[in-house]
């Protein structure tokens, strides 16, 4: 058995007996992301669906001036509420979310065939204000179009003459792409899962081993330090990768449980997507665990190492937030940046779009280069005197 393999087997065996490592790498890491995600999405989707199905409560001022209008609106799902005293104040205090004021001259204007005025009173800064306003406006425009058309017919004109344009929106977003918009944070969760999976082993096998005084005896064995480093890295990477696989499977299952079809989205994390993501993530997982071990080797104690490694895992959040918030068009050069490249590629995969060879090759190559450089630094630290002998 090669020394690196012996170290690998021992690290894995020891970790499999550590409840804390198991909990983090195999349960908490893979499940935390999907659970958080499903909870959040169910809430959001459920809320939107609920709003669309439910009657729209609107305070109507002057309902008696336009009974036909109110009846037509009620047919479209409006629930008329009696007027309250000061509507502006009521709106500000959020006792009322939407009101419709029918003008005093409504009946006169209507009979004269002039446009009759209605005011929609709302607060666009309220959470539901915007979408409720859109619903009410849609109802009113429907009614307006219909009665307008009838007036034209009454005058012997073709209603379509009133429309200069026929506007038909054709959204090119595929159902997958709409789903991926919703799932823009998923790559971050997957990367975070890899971080959590390797973290305990990376800390335990460097700072932890030194703290428990077992590093010095280990280094006295006739084995090159590089071999010891390789074995430990391999073990941490295995746990990290296992975490990632479990996390992906959990997400795949979660995507099935979500009512995404009901809002015309689909998120398909099938075997092909899972396979591609895993392949894409291999070099990144290696880079992640080397970085964790590097940081842990610098720390004086396991507790200190935990703090540093904890901070390290916030790092991938930066590109995630940037990608989902900033209107960035992915450029080829962005794939050269580890973390960002993988996130962009994963987003494409989740949108059901293929990732072409050049960005994929660039992303993989640069991550391998970064991992190689980090390995050389880690090797130097492992070969230094201060690793085992803490002054």
């Amino acid at each position: 058995m090669s020394p690196a393999l012996a170290v690998y087997v021992k690290e894995c065996r020891e970790s499999l007996r550590d409840r804390r490592v198991l909990l983090n790498a195999l349960i908490l890491g893979p499940l935390l992301g999907p659970l958080l995600f499903v909870g959040l999405l169910r809430f959001t989707i459920g809320h939107e669906l609920e709003q669309a199905d439910q009657p729209l409560p609107v305070v109507i001022i002057g309902a008696e001036r336009a009974p036909n209008l109110v009846a037509a609106l009620e047919q479209q799902g409006l629930k008329a509420l009696p007027p309250v005293g000061d509507i502006e104040t009521a709106l500000r205090e959020q006792r009322v979310s939407l009101a419709l004021r029918i003008s005093d001259q409504f009946a006169d204007d209507w009979r004269a065939g002039r446009p009759a005025q209605v005011d929609i009173i709302y607060d666009s800064s309220q959470r539901a204000g915007g979408s409720q306003f859109e619903r009410l406006r849609g109802m009113l425009e429907n009614y307006s179009r219909r009665t307008g058309a009838m007036r034209l017919i009454a005058r012997g004109l073709v209603p379509s003459a009133a429309s200069g344009l026929l506007i038909a929106p054709r959204d090119q977003a595929t159902p997958q792409a709409r789903g991926a918009l919703l799932f823009a944070m998923l790559p971050y969760f997957l990367i975070l899962t890899s971080f959590i999976g390797g973290m305990w082993l990376a800390i335990d096998s460097t700072a932890g081993e030194r703290e428990r005084q077992s590093l010095e005896p280990l280094l006295v064995n006739p084995v090159a330090r590089e071999q010891i480093l390789l074995g430990k890295l391999g073990a941490a990477a295995s746990f990290s990768f296992t975490s990632l696989v479990l996390g992906l499977l959990a997400f795949s299952l979660a995507a099935r449980l979500l009512p995404t079809q009901r809002i015309a989205m689909s998120l398909d994390i099938g075997p092909a997507v899972i396979g591609s993501i895993l392949l894409l993530m291999v070099p990144l997982v290696v880079l992640i665990v080397i970085s964790q071990m590097l940081v842990a080797a610098f720390a004086r104690s396991a507790r200190e190492a935990q703090t540093y490694v904890g901070l390290l895992q916030l790092l991938p959040l930066i590109p995630s937030v940037a990608i989902s918030v900033l209107p960035v068009t992915p450029q080829l050069w962005m794939y050269a940046l580890p973390l960002i490249g993988q996130q962009l590629a994963m987003l494409r995969l989740l949108r059901g779009e293929p990732v072409t060879a050049p960005p994929l090759a660039l992303c993989t190559l640069m991550t391998v280069v970064a991992a190689g450089a980090a390995f050389l630094v880690a090797k130097r630290i492992y070969e230094s005197e201060r690793l085992a002998v803490n002054a």
Binding site: M1, E14, E209, R212, P217, N221, P222, E385, A391
Partner: protein, 245 residues
């Protein structure tokens, strides 16, 4: 045979070891005696190549430790100052891990482990996880782990630290047995009785220097004292005075 020649080691401005020379012969027990902070651990760490001496040379069976550190470590069985075990592994698994790192095959590992477990009286604890072991059980496991590859040279840093009287006694017997097998045994201690009871040769270290080197009888004669303890105090005291002057 382990040979140290004019070793020198400093950590920053602090000189830990200077001009230390001695040799430990096969078939003998050599004691490195000195008060706490005298430079014993640093000297031993240079012997087993954990630290590189700033100056000087170490050879084990003629092999230069600076040039062939892995070959040298292969010939040494070391019980370092830090003797942490892997608490989630059993005693036997702890021993087997180091045997694997020495490149032993499974059959040989089993044989050597059985022999050491027998010699150290560890039959009862061999299959138990190390977590919860007493200090004596830990030291035994650490010694078995250090000797599993059947080394010719054995280096132990304060082996009796934390052991009770009975455990110390069986440790001494074990070291004598290693000596009888013709091995070179070198250990450090700050306890007088330890060297008096065991050593064929004593190297006294004080303030990072060798202040005396010889058989127990020679040291007694050198100091003109009847007991070894008085000789030790006198020699260390003289060295301290010499440093002050």
């Amino acid at each position: 045979m382990i040979k140290a020649e004019q070793l020198h080691k400093a950590f920053g401005a602090k000189v830990a070891v200077q001009d230390v020379s001695f040799s430990a012969r096969d078939g003998e027990i050599t004691g490195l005696l000195g008060p706490n902070g005298a430079g014993k651990t640093t000297t031993l760490r240079m012997l087993y190549t954990l630290l590189r001496p700033d100056r000087g040379r170490i050879t084990v069976d003629g092999l230069d430790a600076a040039l062939l550190p892995i070959e040298v470590r292969r010939r040494l069985g070391v019980l370092p100052d830090a003797r942490g075990l892997y608490k989630r592994l059993t005693a036997r698994e702890n021993i087997a891990y180091f045997a694997q790192l020495h490149g032993l095959d499974a059959e040989l590992i089993r044989q050597r482990s059985d022999a050491l477990i027998g010699a150290l009286g560890m039959q009862e604890i061999a299959g138990r996880r190390v977590e919860g072991f007493s200090q004596g059980e830990r030291v035994k496991t650490a010694i078995a782990r250090a000797l599993v590859h059947d080394p010719r040279h054995i280096v132990l840093d304060e082996p009796s630290n934390g052991l009770d009287v009975l455990a110390t006694r069986s440790l001494r017997d074990f070291l004598r047995q290693l000596k009888a097998e013709g091995r070179c045994v070198l250990f450090s201690t700050h306890i007088m009785q330890e060297v008096a009871a065991l050593c064929d040769r004593i190297v006294i270290i004080g303030g990072g220097r060798v202040v005396a080197d010889g058989t127990p009888e020679a040291l007694r004669e050198q100091a003109g004292e009847r007991s070894l303890e008085d000789a030790f105090v006198k020699i260390i005291g003289a060295a301290a005075v010499g440093q002050l002057a």
